[in-house]
Symmetry: C2
Subunit: 209 residues, 2 copies
DNA sequence: GTCTATATATGGATAGAC
DNA sequence: GTCTATCCATATATAGAC
């Protein structure tokens, strides 16, 4: 790879990062390519040059992180008990949701709009896989006799729904937990607290004592 | 009230209903006043006439349903056990979230944007009240010895988070539950299922046996 | 690859006739 | 209250010079 090619990729990534920030903060329609070009410190024409259009840029912002390969199977296989498998997945999802907060904002807004496009199909597919993984573990746990017979789908949505609320509705969550919104140091404490909470919740609901 | 006044109120309400639909479907920025006026079958100039601006119209769409008085206190007081109080609140919230699906879409999108405006303050305040009511019941239940000592705030967010996922991420939920998205008859079944699920979940987690 | 200048469309809002 | 016509700001996208 030549230095020039490297530079080009950097520029592209730089634009994508800035765009992700802005789209996450204000939504697709509210952000202009002018803003993006200004924030990314590039000429406005470069966005058309690199991506073709604002819409294509938006799609690439979403898709680039959606297609990263999954190492979740490894995480699961390391644990013997189904409960531990589940908790390992939950911890992984907590990490991911907090790390990809911005992208999640974009994704779930797109979901809420509920318009069928190529992109929403891709997102739905991806989120569905997450649910499938959780559901599978719970189902197998039930079959093995380790878990109670519970509503598998709703249990899975409780996990996603609760974590999602924490990463996409910051103002209200900060209000509830009496945290200063500008103080982002709470993230780690929050992740730990969520992790502990799910263990307590499901050790009562799921695990047969 | 004269007939003319009545007609005016109807027109206003009509515009507000149509606007709520469109804002919920596409978001504030993506909807033009031209679209709204067309869909509401009124002249475009009437929106300025009635509301002053697009933004004011948007605010009124949100605020009009946010200021309805609460009968939640009645619902709680009818129940003796804290568990039954909690389940009564949950059922009420399930009803409300499903009934106000469109508005919730708008509200939580506004939350996700996380920009401090007069309106978001109002929304945050309102949502916070919901959390407070749930939290209070759980706290009192713990104090009375009826409930286990749990993470009160996270338990409350699980309730809201799970219900919210069902009403704001329809495509993925339909996918999970293997429901046809266009078939809206599932709503009642879904509400019942959620209600039963929360009872099972919390009878294990909260209630001391 | 990078820039300026511009074509073109669409948006919100309102002046002024009725 | 209702409408048409129009103003003006801002948007995306691109042609063409360098």
């Amino acid at each position: 790879m030549t230095e020039q090619e490297n530079k080009t990729i950097d520029k592209r990534e730089q634009i994508l990062d800035v765009a992700e920030d802005l789209f996450s903060l204000h939504g697709f329609e509210a952000v202009s390519v002018r803003e993006i070009s200004k924030a990314a410190d590039i000429n406005i024409a470069m966005i058309s040059y690199y991506f073709g259009s604002k819409e294509k840029l938006y799609e690439e912002v979403v898709i680039r992180k959606l297609t990263t390969s999954d190492k979740i199977i490894d995480v699961i296989s390391k644990q013997e008990k189904y409960a531990d498998k589940l908790y390992a997945i939950i911890d992984l999802y907590i990490d991911r949701f907090f790390a990809n907060r911005k992208l999640n904002n974009i994704i779930f807004r797109e979901m809420a709009l509920g318009q069928r496009t190529e992109m929403t199909e891709l997102i739905t597919e991806r989120l569905f896989q997450n649910f499938q993984i959780i559901s599978e573990v719970i189902k197998k746990g039930i079959k093995s006799g380790e878990f109670n017979k519970v509503d598998v789908e709703l249990t899975a949505t409780t996990i996603i729904g609760t974590i999602k609320l924490y990463t996409t509705s910051t103002p209200i969550v900060c209000r509830i937990l009496k945290i200063n919104e500008s103080d982002m140091s709470y993230t780690n404490k929050m992740k730990k607290r969520l992790s502990v909470y799910f263990r307590e919740l499901f050790s009562n609901y799921l695990e047969i004592k």
